[in-house]
């Protein structure tokens, strides 16, 4: 089309509006959607049927105690849960302590979690090597542990096999019997491999010198049974703690899926925000297209007048302008899509952000920009082509 060649700059500006509009929508939504998806994935990785109970505020003689050092959850609660909660398939106590892990002349600050042998399944950890501690070892406060990959990396490097080695945690020697498979960061950026697992009895007795426990971790039999499991757990604990009908719980029960939905809704807000920004750039791009097309109406109307006066029929001229507008808009849209995908890819590889390109965003932005471009390219032409040639020529 020679008209496009003739008005390279105008064509370029129009295309630029479309390109920016399409590309920004695609990139923004890809970033928003990516963060949402990664949070969901990683949360799901932590187990979507995970349920846990933490000590809540305790009432002693009508005085509310803070919950940080509340000691409301006991080992007998775990037994009661095991016995009574049919919707729960596995349950483990949890106690934990931060401290320094030492091997030879190397040391590393980490956390030891005191748990039972079911904890791995509940938290979706798997063993890369070695074995899990036995019930007998739990009963006998055995000084054995399973370590996460971060601890291995920092104390042993790649050359030494940690299995069978002895590390010290707060000066207490622990024999390593297993290594956890790497899990990476969770949705909140925490390293899930920076930990040690030991029998809860060992941590209770040898490290913390306590008899209560700090939390209960459990798996619902399935994700759909989460709500039932939460209810059963709550009722079991209320009964075990002898809480009266109208009194508040001295513990809190939460589920992973609740956390997932909380974080998902946070990232939904983020996506909506990015979407709004993208929408604005789409609007700005669209207005840009309209402007350029509109400003050129005078010139185009004159051109159309001339084309009519040398014998072009209205339909010929309209078709010509329509084809021109389609060509411009579609090629702008395609370049925009490519640029958007490129920008998304650049963001994901340079900033290391998770991205998910949404086909609906690609489709929608392309559609909107093309429609604006085509309409505002074609509509003035249609109007002009309906005029008497002389009126179109005289147009100012």
């Amino acid at each position: 089309m020679n008209a496009l060649r003739r008005n390279k700059f105008r064509a370029f500006l129009t295309m630029l509006g479309i390109i920016i509009g399409v590309a920004s929508v695609i990139a923004m939504l890809a970033i928003g959607q990516g963060s949402k998806k990664s949070i969901q994935d990683q949360m799901a990785d932590m187990g979507t049927n995970l349920i846990f109970a933490m000590p809540g505020s305790e009432q002693r003689g009508g005085v509310q105690m803070g919950n940080s050092d509340a000691q409301t959850i006991k080992l007998s609660d775990v037994e009661a849960v095991e016995r009574e909660c049919t919707a729960i398939s596995a349950v483990s106590p949890q106690v934990s302590s931060r401290g320094q892990v030492v091997y030879g002349n190397k040391n590393w600050p980490s956390t030891v979690y005191g748990v039972n042998e079911k904890y791995l399944d509940i938290r979706k950890y798997t063993l890369a090597a070695g074995r899990i501690f036995s019930e007998a070892e739990v009963r006998s406060y055995a000084k054995v542990c399973i370590v996460g990959q971060t601890v291995v990396d920092n104390l042993f490097g790649t050359d030494i096999d940690p299995i069978g080695k002895s590390v010290r945690f707060n000066n207490i020697p622990f024999k390593i019997i297993g290594v956890l498979a790497e899990k990476g960061e969770n949705g909140m950026g925490q390293d899930q491999d920076d930990l040690m697992l030991s029998p809860y009895t060992t941590v209770q007795k040898r490290i913390l010198s306590i008899t209560h426990i700090q939390g209960i971790f459990a798996s619902a039999v399935s994700e759909d049974m989460n709500d039932v499991a939460i209810e059963q757990l709550t009722q079991t604990l209320r009964k075990a703690h002898k809480i009266k009908e109208n009194d508040t719980d001295d513990f809190r029960v939460m589920s992973q899926s609740e956390l997932v939905s909380t974080f998902t809704s946070i990232s939904d807000v983020l996506t909506a925000l990015l979407g709004a920004i993208a929408g604005i750039s789409l609007l700005v791009g669209g207005i840009g297209i309209m402007n350029i097309m509109y400003v050129s109406v005078t010139e185009r109307t004159k051109e159309i007048g001339l084309r009519l006066s040398v014998g072009g029929r209205g339909v010929d001229i309209m078709m010509q302008f329509l084809v021109e507008a389609i060509l411009l808009s579609v090629s702008g849209g395609v370049v925009g899509i490519m640029l958007g995908i490129l920008a998304t890819w650049a963001v994901s590889s340079v900033m290391n952000w998770p991205v998910v390109i949404m086909s609906s965003a690609v489709f929608f932005s392309f559609l909107v920009c093309s429609a604006i471009g085509i309409f505002f390219g074609w509509y003035p032409a249609r109007k002009a082509a309906a005029l008497n040639p002389i009126d179109a020529l005289r147009y100012e």
Partner: protein, 249 residues
């Protein structure tokens, strides 16, 4: 000598313009007949209706009333697309303000009318455009853009464009209005040559000395034809050009 064919026949032609509440009667009943091979100058004061008349003859505008028969075809019955076809096949229009497409070569500008003629293929279109540019003496300016051409050259491109479809009549509205004497003479000698080759030309001007290059003068005033006369001592533009004092180079 057999009688020349009638190319244009107009009777009772009226044209009103409505501007707000006011109606301007630009043409108030025009009767005019133009035969093949004539070179007619339409003259008259400003606002007398010359351009209005020419636009209607060129099928760029529609009359309010009256008959117009062009080369045997009655305009009144034709639809938009048929009129476009007529403009494409039978008419060549030269505008006072050239009306060339900007940023488009002289050659492509001249090709434009043929572009809308489906019978003419790309190769023929180019050949004919080149021939038309040669006829107006611009074969060395074919790939120039309008803004790289002088006013006279642009007007010659416009004339080439009006010629390229081999029309039965060329209509020119003050084609020399913007040009100096020498360039005007050049254009007139070009038109005279075309006329000698048999083209019918209708030419609007309000300069009496330009009108003396034509064969017949029709004078408009206030929407009427007030006088029609054959040019007695017709001037030859090519000779006049030779006799012009040579400007210093």
């Amino acid at each position: 000598m057999n009688k020349p064919k009638t190319i244009i026949e107009v009777s009772g032609l009226k044209k009103d313009f409505h501007v707000g509440e006011i109606t301007v009667h630009a043409l108030k009943g025009i009767n005019l007949e133009i035969k093949q091979g004539e070179f007619v100058a339409i003259m008259g004061t400003s606002g007398s209706g010359k351009s209005t008349m020419l636009n209607i003859l060129g099928c760029l505008d529609k009359p309010t009333a009256g008959q117009y028969v062009l080369d045997g075809v009655s305009m009144g019955e034709l639809g938009k697309n048929q009129l476009a076809g007529l403009r494409n096949n039978k008419l060549g229009f030269v505008f006072q303000s050239y009306n060339l497409l900007p940023r488009t070569t002289a050659l492509e500008n001249v090709e434009l009318p043929l572009f809308y003629n489906s019978k003419v293929k790309a190769k023929e279109r180019k050949e004919r455009a080149i021939a038309a540019l040669e006829a107006v003496g611009l074969s060395d300016r074919m790939y120039h853009m309008p803004n790289q051409l002088s006013g006279g050259q642009q007007q010659r491109v416009a004339i080439a464009r009006s010629l390229v479809n081999d029309p039965v009549v060329i209509l020119a509205d003050e084609a020399t209005g913007n040009l100096d004497t020498r360039t005007s003479y050049e254009i007139m000698s070009l038109l005279q040559r075309l006329n000698e080759d048999g083209k019918t030309i209708v030419f609007v001007t309000h300069e009496p000395d330009i009108a003396r290059f034509t064969t017949r003068n029709v004078v408009f005033r206030d929407g009427h034809i007030i006088r029609e006369e054959m040019v007695k001592d017709r001037l030859n533009a090519a000779e006049m050009l030779k006799n012009l004092p040579v400007e210093e180079d």
